[in-house]
């Protein structure tokens, strides 16, 4: 029996997840709606004055992005572990890290990418100047992608745990704090007219670090959850 190539196996996983998500698109839309709702809370809780709001706009946009991409993470691996699909993947002889990475990429396309698209609009409503759009988009692209992988590690660790969602946030949020620091700092610098290159490069560095080591941690965590 000939084993399929890694790339085609990963592509199959990606396409399967995309199809599954497409059939339940309302679940995909929920984090996005959550994002808009959370960002609406801040003007209500603080002040409707746009010049005041623009001071915290970068932080609000980023915190809300962090929270809403955590929302969908809990179910990332759950159904596959429960119905035995994950066991088949572990036994398939394919490198598990690649398959899980494909799942995470699909998750990012469904939750991270829409956030990146909608964030500038939400930011503008909070008084974010047009000049900072580019930085916001780049920082969120890097940030949400990193967060999806970090969250994937957390989801893989908590997949066999009851009430995993609170625990998942508890595990992932501290690890994601550097992202928040650099992301919102980059947007803030762009708003002030400075070059945001420094924080963006640090974000990119963290992204590549997590991209290279994350799949290993994810597959180790999934093996622990599935094997025992």
């Amino acid at each position: 029996m000939r084993r399929a190539a890694v790339s085609s196996a990963a592509r199959l996983v990606f396409r399967r997840d995309l199809t599954l998500a497409w059939r339940r698109w309302d679940e995909v839309a929920q984090p996005l709606i959550f994002y808009v709702v959370v960002t609406t809370l801040f003007p209500l809780a603080t002040t409707p004055d746009l010049s005041e709001l623009s001071k915290i706009a970068s932080g609000v946009v980023w915190v809300a992005a962090l929270l809403s991409s955590l929302l969908a993470l809990e179910s990332l691996f759950r159904s596959d572990v429960e119905d035995g699909t994950m066991e088949q993947w572990v036994l398939s002889g394919q490198p598990l890290g690649w398959l899980l990475l494909a799942k995470v990429v699909c998750h990012w396309v469904l939750t991270g990418l829409p956030l990146v698209v909608i964030a500038p609009i939400v930011g503008t409503a909070l008084g974010l100047p047009f000049a900072a759009w580019g930085t916001l988009i780049v920082s969120l692209l890097l940030g949400t992608a990193t967060l999806s992988i970090l969250g994937g590690i957390g989801a893989a660790l908590t997949v066999g745990v009851r009430r995993g969602s609170v625990l998942l946030s508890l595990l992932v949020l501290p690890l994601a704090m550097p992202l928040l620091i650099f992301g919102s700092r980059a947007v803030m610098m762009a708003m002030d007219g400075d070059s945001p290159a420094g924080p963006l490069q640090l974000l990119a560095a963290i992204f590549f670090l997590v991209l290279s080591l994350g799949p290993l941690a994810m597959s180790a965590a999934i093996r622990i959850s599935v094997e025992s």
């Binding site: 590690i153 660790l157 908590t158 066999g160 745990v161 009851r162 009430r163 995993g164 625990l167 508890l170 595990l171 949020l173 501290p174 690890l175 704090m177 550097p178 620091i181 640090l202 670090l209 941690a217 180790a220 965590a221 622990i224 959850s225 025992s228």
Partner: protein, 242 residues
């Protein structure tokens, strides 16, 4: 070497050995901490800027150091447990986590008390205080993950993965001083070549750090013994021993 590892890795042997080791850590720790307390509070000169208030440094800096040291110990133990499947290493990681969390809390509390006279507020969002707080969250997450599994072996291995992932945060804490320029004074001890803190103040600090280190050794011996007892509560060697 492997024979030694297997011998030490067996719970009855480790239990006896840790019991014998504990006083060798405990008494020197007590002596050094008492000596450093006297030296730091009485003998060391007052700071020309901060007066006597700087003396909380002798608790603050060692606990901040120990909070990071313990995390590394925990992650290394977890890694050993994960790679070579040594249960005792997992038990050591489990025993270290609450100690580390306590040191982190102590560093935060003393930092906050120190901040009141120096900065005028209890809490400042500065780089090192914040990253120390993140470290506390990491410890709490680790302990939460560990306690949420029913199966101890899965708890061991899953939390080991988390500890190794989280250990990336320890260098981030160390370098956050450079990343984030704020109120906190730059690290004054790690620059060994040219310390910016006067030598008479530095000596008791190093004695205190050594004392804390030994105290950690004593604690880990005691806690690991407890952990072994808890895990081996149904084993036959315990009945024979008692």
């Amino acid at each position: 070497m492997w024979i030694w590892v297997h011998k030490f890795g067996s719970p009855p042997h480790a239990y006896r050995l840790l019991g014998k080791l504990a006083p060798w850590f405990g008494w020197p720790a007590l002596g050094l901490i008492l000596l450093a307390t006297w030296w730091g509070l009485v003998k060391a000169p007052a700071d020309y800027q901060q007066g006597d208030a700087f003396r909380i440094l002798y608790v603050h800096a060692p606990s901040a150091w120990m909070s990071m040291f313990t995390y590394v110990v925990m992650a290394v133990a977890a890694g050993i447990g994960l790679v070579w499947r040594i249960k005792l290493a997992h038990a050591a990681a489990a025993a270290a986590a609450p100690i580390g969390a306590s040191f982190t809390f102590l560093a935060l509390a003393t930092g906050s008390i120190w901040g009141k006279p120096m900065w005028g507020t209890w809490w400042v969002w500065d780089a090192r205080l914040t990253s120390e707080l993140i470290l506390l969250f990491l410890y709490l997450g680790y302990m939460a993950l560990r306690s949420s599994f029913d199966d101890p072996q899965r708890a061991d291995r899953a939390s080991a993965v988390l500890a190794i992932v989280g250990v990336i945060n320890v260098p981030i804490i160390h370098y956050s001083v450079k990343w984030w320029s704020t109120l906190h004074q730059a690290a004054s001890v790690t620059k060994l070549a040219k310390p910016s803190i006067a030598l008479p103040m530095l000596i008791p600090l190093f004695i205190m750090i050594a004392g804390f280190q030994l105290y950690f050794g004593w604690l880990i011996c005691r806690r690991l013994r407890g952990e072994i007892l808890r895990r081996e509560r149904n084993a036959s060697w315990l009945n024979e021993a008692s």
